[in-house]
């Protein structure tokens, strides 16, 4: 389990990274926290010719709040996101989700940009950025593009980012004061990739869902918005019947992948259970607010 030979370049600036990406094309690979990339190299699952290390590019990391938008640099490490007062205050969904991302050692190195760039279907951050309606900002030598999260996740490890583009920033509109969010996931051991999970953002008044966004992960090939389940709940006052309707609608929204963790049928069942629990929790949180 030793990586095959590769070239390594530590990019000193964003511009240099973009040029290297352009120059190496498919053969170049960005190295961020390395927590996902290094195992695939060591297992010889991928053999890029050149690694472009972006760890020393100062203006790629950090968390700022401007005009009700939180800007998270792609190189911001999970641990910084987890400890950020801005995130805790304005993006409680991400703060809640961070608890589930791997273990301390991995969070100390792994980055939010790496997680969103990789787009593992069971990862927490992609689901959060989709649930929160974030914008992914990518750059290449040709310029800068903004991609709505809705358009960004395209399939299993597939995104709208081109291979010559660097993900530089994730901008997330803050959660509105009268919204509540809930993040739930099931993993057999703490820190494992999810068996099933969802990110939920809701506006609730008098136990009635005025607005709702439900994004599922861990079961589909990419983070998935459940339009049917959302429609079954929005406008409704929360009740057992409403819970059942949401669960029923989910059958059409999702088509879980069978894997070692369980069958498609079981994952659908778990997502239904989580939906009921998340909406219960949303109501509880709205009432507590």
């Amino acid at each position: 389990m030793k990586a095959p030979k590769f070239e390594y370049v530590r990019a000193g600036s964003r511009q240099q990274a973009l040029e290297l990406l352009d120059q190496h094309g498919e053969d170049g690979r960005i190295l961020a926290g390395g927590q996902s990339l290094m195992p695939t190299l060591n297992m010889r699952l991928s053999q890029p010719g050149t690694l472009i290390d972006i760890n020393k590019i100062a203006d790629l990391s950090g968390i700022t709040l401007e005009n009700n938008v939180v800007r998270i640099g792609a190189m911001t490490r999970h641990v910084e996101v987890a400890n950020s007062p801005i995130i805790a205050e304005h993006l409680p969904l991400i703060a809640e989700a961070m608890e589930h991302v791997a273990h301390h050692a991995v969070r100390n190195r792994g980055t939010i940009g790496g997680s969103v760039a990789l787009a593992d279907p069971a990862a927490e951050m992609p689901a959060c950025v989709l649930a929160l309606g974030a914008t992914l900002i990518v750059e290449s030598v040709k310029g800068r593009r903004e991609i709505a999260a809705d358009d960004y996740f395209q399939g299993l490890y597939e995104t709208a980012r081109e291979s010559n583009e660097l993900l530089v920033e994730i901008s997330v509109p803050i959660e509105k004061p009268d919204d509540v969010s809930v993040f739930l996931e099931l993993a057999q051991r703490h820190g494992d990739f999810a068996m099933a999970g969802l990110a939920c953002v809701a506006r609730i008044s008098n136990r009635t869902f005025e607005d709702l966004r439900l994004v599922y992960f861990g079961s589909e090939d990419k983070p998935t918005i459940a339009t049917g389940a959302m429609a079954a709940v929005v406008g409704q006052t929360w009740s057992a019947a409403c819970k059942e309707a949401a669960a029923d609608a989910l059958t059409n929204d999702l088509d879980p992948m069978t894997n070692l963790q369980g069958s498609s049928e079981m994952k659908l069942h778990l997502q239904k259970v989580l939906t009921g629990r998340a909406l219960d929790a949303a109501i509880e949180r709205a009432e507590a607010a």
Partner: protein
Amino acid sequence: MLDKPNSYVGRTLSRDAAKRAVAGRGRYTDDIAPARTLHAAFVRSPYGHAKILSIDVEAAKQQPGVTLVMTGAELAEMCTGPWVGTLVCFDGMKSEPQHPMAIDRACWQGEPVVMVVASTRAEAEDAAELVIVEYEELPVVIDKETALDKSTPVIHPDLGDNLAFEKMIETGDVEKAVAEADVVIEDTFTFGRHTAVSLEPRALLAEYDPGTERLTIHTSSQCPHMIQAVFARTLGVPEHNVRIVAPDVGGSFGLKIHTFGDEIAATAAAIKLARPVKFVADRLESFATDIHARENCVKARMAVSKDGIITSLDIDVRSGAGAYSQYPRTSVFEANQILNITGGPYGHENYRATTQVVYLNKVPTSQYRAVGHPIGNTVGESLVDQAAAACNIDPMEFRRRNVMRDDSYPRVSAAGIEMRDMSHQQCLETLVERMSYDALREEQAELRKQGIQRGIGIAAFIKGTAPGPAGYYGAGGAPISSQDSCTIKLEPSGGVICMVGVTDQGQGVDTVMGQIAAATLGVPMESVRVIEGDTDAVPYGGGTYASRATAIGGEATYQAAMTLRAEILEIAGVLLQAEPDTLDILDGHVVDKGDTSSRISLAEIGRIGHFQVAELPNHIQPTLSATHRFRLRDALYIFTNGIQGAYVEVDTDTGFIKLLNHWVIEDCGRVINPQLADEQVRGGCVQGLGGALYEECVYDTAGQLQNATLADYLTPMAGEMPDIEVAHIQTHTGVSELGAKGVGESGTGAAPAVVMNAVNDAIRPFGGKVTAQPMSPETILKALGKV
């Protein structure tokens, strides 16, 4: 001697290696890097079963850094012959001869086919990718249930069928008991394949000196002398020219009592090249080549009278081995042990147990911590719980009525095994108290009303430890010693060197041997150095396996120390003109037995005994050293016993299990070091819980291992584990003076049983029952009819 006040025996001391390991100063095989060391990597079969049509190594040979590329056929020329993994003690057993690397045919995915040796492991792996092997896929046998069907292909045509071994034990009349029973419980249990997942993988560094014709192998091993014998015989090097050193070993769990073809290959390369060659299995290789274990399906039936007395038990075990029987310990011990121990705590007199062990195109199976016990205990204890429920008797009370009485030993179990010095009743009553059994039942009932589903599990167990010479390995023809030994010496400084055949893999065996030696001799711990894991230094022994180190090696150490003590007192008696029996040794000094005043220090005895021998009369020739060996006589094992309790919560909507509490009451005889004994039990439980809840080597129908990484093969992690409360009942074994039995596997043996019983207790009101391990969320949901 051992029960004196302040004795080191019975006292918690931290293990010798702990400080070193924490400081990062452990020295494992891979840390040893002689000049000019080469590294081996292997081309392994990508197929479960395939004919090897051709091998082209030319491109690989041309790669930078490559010194040797060796095929299975070339390696076979350096070997005395293939291995045959049978033992004569297993009547009728058969196995195909196995070469260290495949020659014409690969029989499991991961079997080594070609070795590449290069200056670095990375270069060796680069070159290995360029070896071209042409395969023709052959049909695979994956399912043990159909392995003996006429329509199933035979893996090794020369064997005639896929049967490795079959056996039957029959005592009394099971059919009569069943016919007369008020309640008959019948069920089928399945168990997934596991592997050991030691933190330090298999590792070996072989060096051959053509000048002295000495072969020195550093290897992460539990059994240096067995490795010496097997490697010497396989490679045709005289045994006394082979030195095996096991430096620090990072966990073993039975994995490291075995021999592997890739290790023979790396050693052959060292001989051929006369340069050091290192092979360290990476994690992928570990999953695909370390022995696997536990794959069994058991059909079982228990007959009970309506007042809750077990009258008979019968089991039929289908055991899935790998493509070959593992040499030299075989792949049939697990099944054999299931037959030996199922229902073992109980006094029924009718028992029938049958097994068929079958070959499959999977990694060879063999001994892994608590061989067979997790299976036998789960089967027996699940039936007991079901029988108790059917009789409407509390499961604790049911066991109370059935366990062997504490005053009934020695006796023979229904499986025909001698039992002595056991304490089921005392353990059970201690558990009732420790887990506040009645209060816990009340809490469970109360929480049910709130929709919280908790379960209480109980599992009584027996554990075979410290096997004797009459049973299996040596008696079966394997070069594996069931005796163990200690050579102890008094140095001129008064320091004591204690060389033992048993070995340490992190459990503190060396510390325990030091405690026994220090307590027996009467010297401070600091003046004892224990040496283990080096065939050049220590007297011949079996090493550490089957919970034998303290029971067997400890007694040898005790006896050796007693002899040295007697010699020291004899010399002191001469020098002091006192009768030796009026003297004692305390804290490194010979003292008067009465007022314990110091008469002469051991340093002085050492000085005189080594340098000033003229001060002694001519008839005294001080050796100041003693060697003792110890082995069981007729007994098959020293059986231990105990009982575990578990408290779990089941989320009946998700199938998730939360482990809340765990209790173990066990009887390992004399406890030498309470903390180390407790931690053996706790770590063992965790290993058992991993198997019960998470672990399984999953194969697809083509014989491809699906989860050969630590991301996909789930091991237990601290976060999910319960607090484990441990208590020891100490019924000394009568077979030794030390009185210690084994303890290392008792947690593992019954933890899967107790947690499965707890889960079933939680879901019983919903009509749910699980009989398959690992108990994944999906297994639970299916049992509840939710998916």
